[in-house]
Amino acid sequence: APCQPLKVEILDAKTREKLCFLDKVEPQATIAEIKNLFTKTHPQWYPARQSLRLDPKGKSLKDEDVLQKLPVGTTATLYFRDLGAQISWVTVFLTEYAGPLFIYLLFYFRVPFIYGHKYDFTSSRHTVVHLACICHSFHYIKRLLETLFVHRFSHGTMPLRNIFKNCTYYWGFAAWMAYYINHPLYTPPTYGAQQVKLALAIFVICQLGNFSIHMALRDLRPAGSKTRKIPYPTKNPFTWLFLLVSCPNYTYEVGSWIGFAIMTQCLPVALFSLVGFTQMTIWAKGKHRSYLKEFRDYPPLRMPIIPFLL
């Protein structure tokens, strides 16, 4: 009978120890509600760090899953795995993006103890160096604003250790790039103003493109929901890249950094672009695979990140 309350027992996935027994649970209860109940008896395991599954080695159940719809009897046995300390995505993004913004400026203004003392607070005589500062700062301010106002995250949290990993990556590379671009011995690009203008154009176009994609993805998903739909091109020409790739935001992001690398003619920037490209390709391929699995009618022409190639 649909209205009979169920019993829920929660066991540790590794030791099979009985951690919690919930006596009268409504069949319409969601996993999220069960997680909240579990937290009451084990307050150190807040819901974000709980992974509940039907099988100790199986996939995590989703917060929205309804108890009644799962293959359980009158007593549901759920296995618990601790995901470790969690931190919100927003917090991680803000921290990892604020760092480069600030760090780059330290080098740009030639704050003491970075370069020789005679250079303290001096200014570069190359226009491209000032332009690069504007571009780099714009890029990260854009990212911060997007984190606050544009992105809609599927997951609320990620493991705490990620913030250390991610910040090391972003902050480290920012410092490395900024050191050379703002160095008193910086050498401007070989082909001069022509090279800088072309690179700037690439950068601006790709930044606009990346932003357009972020807006398009946001519009796919209503506020507070976690629905997934196939993204399609809109009236905005920058979104027409959806015809050819699943993750044009990554495509544009790589393009921006290539533009920045050409603009500054700085090898560390090129290396940063390469590492970023590698990581984004892995994500794009994963996303592409998820799309193919979830949607039967997924457009076959699309590649993950590079049209026709990758």
Partner: protein, 288 residues
């Protein structure tokens, strides 16, 4: 970082891992999805928890092992026999040199061609992982082999004044014994006839050999430092048109420092593997 680890099944065959228990976990640098350790950008949407993906990678690896084609088995057997033979030749040459000359001076010069050939050939082990005929992750194999290549080509080959240091013999001996044990282990595993003493050797020799090898490598790099500083080799200074600089001296210092966190991790990982394989201990792995 010369990796004496025998836990990594780089170059190993299918049944190597089978008799050794489940495929050794990737280098414990990051337990999120394999291969992610190097790329440190944030895990985006759909970043599934590392545990699930590692577990499924293991299941996939088991499946792959069972389906290892005839061609792959033949190739890997040939490869492991060849490498066993190569390192045996190296060992014999080293012993003969010392017996004839009574000194280690000139030993490196006499065996360097053979060493370079066989150690460089081991780059193939990365390809083995890439094409999936060996269950180790590409990242782990890559780090292992790269550290050996680094030691051989970027230190002993390039910095001639240190070639007669005792520390060179130290790591050469450690590497030689390790590799002979490791490759013969893989060979016998592939042929499905693994004598217990080889398995025993593989999981016990490292206890001494690994620290000895690390000591040899660190002492060698340390001995090389003054020459690197004096000559400024492999270094680029500003200004230059690619706006980058590189100081090999500091690079070597950082490399030496990196042994501090990495060596204990790998050593204890191998000790755990040993307990699992030789004593059948069930070890509950740390959560992601």
């Amino acid at each position: 970082m010369g990796r004496l680890t025998e836990a990594a099944a780089a170059g190993g065959g299918a049944s190597a891992a089978r008799s050794a228990g489940p495929p050794p976990a990737p280098l414990p640098l990051s337990s999120t999805s394999p291969g992610c350790a190097a790329a440190m950008a944030s895990s985006e949407e759909d970043g599934t928890n590392g545990g699930a993906s590692e577990a499924s990678e293991e299941r996939e690896a088991v499946g792959k092992r069972r389906r290892l084609g005839l061609l792959a088995t033949i190739w890997l057997t040939f490869y492991n026999i060849a490498m066993t033979a190569g390192w045996l030749v190296l060992a014999i040459a080293m012993v003969r040199f010392y017996m004839e000359k009574g000194t280690h001076k000139g030993l490196y010069k006499s065996i360097q061609k053979t060493l370079k050939f066989f150690q460089t050939f081991a780059l193939l082990e990365i390809v083995h992982c890439l094409i999936g005929i060996v269950p180790t992750s590409v990242l782990v194999a890559g780090v292992q082999v790269s550290s050996r290549i680094f030691m051989v080509w970027l230190v002993t080959h390039s910095i001639k004044p240190i070639q007669n240091e005792e520390s060179v013999v130290l790591f050469l001996v450690a590497w030689t014994v390790t590799e002979i044990t490791r490759y013969s282990f893989y060979t016998f595993s592939l042929l499905d006839h693994l004598p217990y003493f080889i398995k025993w050797a593989r999981y016990n020799f490292f206890i001494i050999l690994y620290p000895v090898g690390v000591a040899g490598e660190l002492l060698t790099i340390y001995a090389a430092l003054p020459y690197v500083k004096k000559t400024g080799m492999f270094s680029i200074r500003l200004p230059n048109k690619y706006n980058v600089s590189f100081d090999y001296y500091y690079f070597l210092l950082i490399t030496m420092a990196s042994y501090i966190p990495l060596f204990p991790q790998l050593y204890f990982h191998m000790l755990r593997q040993r307990r699992k394989v030789l004593h059948g201990e069930v070890i509950v792995e740390k959560d992601d």
